[in-house]
């Protein structure tokens, strides 16, 4: 696993989708792998994203709606979006209120796949 490559993916995604302010990748249990963040504590973000993703998965499983795609939290001034990366990692993005979530999904799927490849998942 190459940490620089992971970081390059995060930065590229941030540049590609207007409105993403912070991005981090973590293991599924919340240990930080790489972060392109500035105003949040990446370790804490990684841990919380792991918890949120876990809760999302349990909820999806309980109601029988199939595989979890992503967890989106919408707040007063922005969005928190968490994608599973393979079975063992996750990607968490923070966007402002102008984030085009539809466009993000289109752009982030290939990025998630590339991250999975880099991480060897």
């Amino acid at each position: 696993m190459n940490k620089e490559e992971v970081l390059a993916e995060l930065t590229a995604l941030r540049k590609e989708v207007p409105g993403i302010a912070e991005a981090a990748t973590a293991s599924i249990d919340g240990m930080l792998i790489a972060a392109d963040t500035d105003e949040v504590r990446p370790e804490v973000l990684a841990a919380l994203a792991s918890a949120a993703l876990g809760l999302g998965k349990s909820a999806a499983h309980e109601v029988g709606m199939g595989e979890l795609r992503e967890v989106i939290t919408r707040c007063q001034s922005g969005h928190i979006v968490i994608y599973p990366v393979g079975r063992k990692a996750l990607l968490v993005l923070l966007g402002d209120e102008g984030l085009d979530v539809g466009r993000l999904h289109v752009r982030s799927r290939p990025a998630v796949q590339r991250l999975a490849d880099i991480l060897g998942l």
């Binding site: 930065t11 941030r14 540049k15 790489a34 102008g98």
Partner: protein, 260 residues
């Protein structure tokens, strides 16, 4: 000002807008390209426009602190479902009539500028449909497409002057040493990001930044500042938020399963 034609840059978008205006069109013009957005017309006048690259009326009001979140939410809850948010904001005395006009005109003009500068490849007009949500805060009486196209052309001309100096919608901005520029210009934000953060239009933000650039208070770059690789913080109970074990009702519904 001269008529935009289809072969000019931005000609497809502004040309299509002008044509709908002349036809007295009522409905939505959907623009797609580098970004997406919609322009809503009523009898040929533009009453609203929205895109992800320009802050809408809600962001302009809330982010700039012109309106408190609680006041907005209360008015929104009471009136937005029936589509009379504007009347409600006036009734509650949260905004004056002129302020409301100013806000809606600023937001729609900015959205159209943002779409035009990012590049629109296709424009599709759809008549109003009962399934479609009407714009939250339409401008009354709105702008003629002629006035809107002229204003957009003027803005595009300024923007291309700024672009020649290195300032575009997606350049990253850095403060120079001892700069009086806002600290939110931190090398990780583009004009679009700052527009949302400041609760200001995209064009107004570019204008502010152009002034700062001219007085050498800021510099531009195509690449964002990268934060230094995070220094590993030991994950201890002190550094992570904790909740009390067993207090969540989730365990009542989802029996704990050890990871397989």
């Amino acid at each position: 000002m001269s008529e935009p034609t289809e072969d000019q840059p931005h000609g497809v978008f502004l040309g299509s807008l002008l044509r709908r205006g002349r036809d007295g069109f009522t409905g939505t013009l959907r623009a797609d390209g580098a970004v997406s957005g919609t322009v809503t017309l009523a009898e040929g006048r533009v009453i609203a426009a929205s895109t992800a690259v320009a802050p809408g009326p809600e962001s302009l009001l809330l982010r700039s602190g012109r309106l408190a979140e609680a006041d907005w939410t209360a008015a929104y809850t009471d009136a937005a479902p029936e589509g009379r948010l504007a009347e409600e904001l006036l009734k509650r005395g949260l905004l004056g009539e002129v302020s409301l006009q100013v806000l809606t005109l600023k937001a729609l003009t900015d959205a159209v500028f943002a779409m035009a500068i990012c590049g629109v490849q296709t424009c599709v007009a759809t008549p109003p449909s009962p399934d479609e949500l009407p714009p939250l805060l339409p401008a009354a009486p709105g702008l003629t497409t002629r006035a809107l196209a002229d204003e957009t052309t003027r803005r595009l001309a300024s923007a291309s002057r700024w672009a020649a100096k290195g300032l575009t919608v997606d350049t990253y901005l850095f403060r120079t040493t001892d700069s009086p520029a806002p600290a939110t210009i931190n090398g990780r934000r583009t004009p679009r990001d700052l527009a949302f953060l400041w609760g200001q239009g995209l064009y107004a933000t570019l204008y502010t930044l152009a002034d700062l650039l001219a007085s050498t208070h800021i510099t531009t770059s195509d690449s964002p500042r990268l934060t230094p690789p995070p220094t590993p913080i030991p994950l201890t109970p002190e550094t992570l938020p904790q909740r009390q074990k067993g207090t969540s009702p989730v365990n009542t519904f989802l029996p704990f399963r050890p990871p397989s």
